[in-house]
């Protein structure tokens, strides 16, 4: 039984790698060096890094495009954008990519303590296979011991374990309940933008970060990540600096365009005037927005299945694409954010709940629901 299970897993993995090398250009596939798991090469010579949410990668056609600017419009009522930011940064840590984090918080380090840690492969394995035999348990025990040992050994040891455990994948599932260990978080460069009266300092930090990145060597692409939280939040004191902010975003976009970096910027929409909001949106390569869903919305609950489990809605407005002028038209642009087994984030398409055929009243209520008031959130 164990061999069968292992064989299945092995088969799946080898299938993965083969498709991976096919996607890369043929000469580099010959190279003996293993491809960098943090960077994926897609069609049209596009290179992606993972957003940290496997579902989001799939929706965006592979992940965040390297050299693109991803903007996330925040919801005023809920911190869902933080989920995206956390997974984005954790994925960077797992892939050992340099990360720069700028936040309006007083102490950005404290926020980094809440980064989720990846669901380890062994656990995943256990989840998938309902039959857990002794052999595997032993293996797992060994692993657990290794995790314990990590405290006593140095950093290198832990990174090796890290390697063996989770590093093989392009995107990991993250356990939101379990915090990433401090020693990994150290690699993240963080800064507070609260006390910076002028954006030039943030500008300099970003360009320093870019110049400090290792050059890509041969087939092994290395990527970097910039995460900026709540760029125009009022505590930053950027009031009356609309043009400076837009100029900063344009600057950010221009410097990352020619580099192997993805920048994710979240911003609260309510503090921008409509004209500037549009300008910000036009400057984004990939534009997402998150929205909370109201607790007591009975009509919505009736209309959508799994309403109780939903955390919020994620809307995909614009998808970056490279070397192609054909726009990406997604099948659906609104997805529900859910927690699977109360720990890892999944995105699902909205499903319309079956209407009870017997009662005419329910039909009429759902009819009014899909009217102009709720119509915007339902794209079928």
């Amino acid at each position: 039984m164990a061999t069968a299970a292992d064989g299945r897993l092995l088969g799946a993995r080898s299938a993965n790698t083969s498709s991976f090398s096919r996607a890369r250009s043929s000469p580099s596939a010959v190279l003996p060096s293993p491809p960098n798991p943090g960077v994926k090469v897609g069609p049209n010579g596009a290179t992606f890094v993972s957003s940290g949410i496997p579902d989001l990668d799939r929706i965006l056609g592979g992940g965040f495009l390297l050299g693109s600017l991803v903007m996330v419009m925040e919801d005023a009522d809920a911190p869902h954008h933080l989920l995206l930011l956390r997974n984005f940064m954790s994925q960077g840590v797992v892939h050992r990519q340099p990360v720069l984090f700028a936040s309006p918080l007083k102490d950005p380090r404290a926020f980094l303590g809440t980064l989720p840690s990846p669901v380890s492969l062994s656990k995943e394995h256990r989840q998938r296979d309902t039959l857990v035999d002794h052999n595997q348990q032993d293996q797992e025990k060994g692993l657990r011991i290794a995790w314990q040992y990590k405290k006593y050994f140095g950093d290198q040891q832990s990174s090796q374990i890290h390697n063996r455990d989770v590093k093989q994948e392009f995107s990991n599932d993250f356990d939101l309940r379990k915090a990433l260990e401090r020693q990994h978080v150290q690699y993240i460069e963080s800064m507070s933008i609260q006390d910076i009266p002028r954006l030039t300092i943030l500008r300099d930090r970003c360009s320093n970060f870019l110049s400090g990145l290792p050059r890509s060597d041969g087939g092994n692409l290395s990527a970097g990540r910039i995460a900026i939280q709540s760029l125009c939040a009022p505590q930053c004191g950027y009031a009356e600096m609309d043009w400076d902010l837009v100029a900063f975003i344009r600057f950010l976009r221009s410097i990352i365009r020619s580099s192997n970096v993805v920048a994710v910027v979240t911003f609260p929409t309510s503090f921008l005037s409509p004209a500037f909001l549009k300008r910000w949106q036009h400057l984004a390569d990939t534009l997402l927005s998150v929205r909370a869903i109201p607790d007591e919305d009975k009509d919505m609950a009736k209309l959508l299945t799994g309403y109780q489990d939903m955390l919020g809605l994620l809307h995909v407005h614009k998808v970056a694409h490279n070397n192609s002028q054909v726009p990406t038209v997604l099948e659906a642009s609104t997805f529900s954010l859910k927690l699977q087994k109360r720990r890892s984030l999944v995105l699902e398409r909205l499903n319309q709940a079956p209407v009870e055929a017997s009662s005419g009243t329910s039909y009429s209520t759902s009819g009014t629901c899909s009217g102009p008031s709720k119509g915007s959130s339902l794209d079928f």
């Binding site: 609309d242 837009v246 100029a247 344009r250 221009s254 004209a275 549009k278 300008r279 054909v326 726009p327």
Partner: protein, 182 residues
């Protein structure tokens, strides 16, 4: 379509000025913006002269500004300077036999001051092309609709009005009249 831009660029047929990297000012000085725009204008002028000196078979030169909002950002929102700059560029169309193509986003000009920019652009244009998403919503087969307005003279009457729908493809764009495709 199907034109290799980087080859054309190496042959000096295409001159490229990166607007994303354009920075005019360190401090908010009026003069900096003027100097910045003058620099930009001179660069355009030099490129045009370089092109004209090379092949003087009366070829027309096209100036494409993609897009205008970047100029506005570089000028920190000074509509006056941008409009002055456009006026200069427009003078090139008659003096140097150029086409001037300006791309802009309509929806960012919703405040009062910016409306002035929009109406100004509308006025000075000979041909106005609006590309929008379908009014009926997003579709996979039809990417958007396009309205072409050809005028008599700048600010004059509408001579012709076309409306198309389009689909963007890998090597071109397919235009068709609404409803004529299938």
């Amino acid at each position: 379509m199907g034109c290799n831009l980087s080859v054309q660029r190496n042959k000096n047929k295409l001159h490229f000025i990166d607007l994303l990297n354009l920075e005019f000012l360190d401090e908010k000085g009026e003069n900096d913006r003027e100097i910045g725009f003058m620099d930009l204008y001179n660069r355009i002028l030099r490129s045009i002269e370089a092109i004209r000196s090379k092949d003087n078979n009366g070829g027309w030169t096209t100036i494409i500004i993609d897009d205008l909002s970047h100029l506005e950002i570089a000028a920190h929102g000074s509509v006056k300077h941008v409009l002055d700059f456009l006026q200069y560029c427009r003078s090139l169309t008659s003096e140097m036999d150029c086409f001037l193509v300006i791309l802009n986003h309509e929806d960012i000009h919703s405040s009062d001051e910016a409306l002035q920019m929009l109406s100004h652009l509308d006025y000075i244009s000979d041909i106005l092309i609006k590309a929008e998403t379908l009014s009926t919503g997003i579709a996979a087969d039809v990417h958007g609709q396009m309205t072409v307005i050809i005028k008599d003279a700048p600010g004059g009457l509408i001579k012709k009005l076309h409306s198309f729908q389009f689909k963007v493809k890998e090597n071109g764009v397919e235009f068709f009249y609404p409803g004529s495709r299938f």
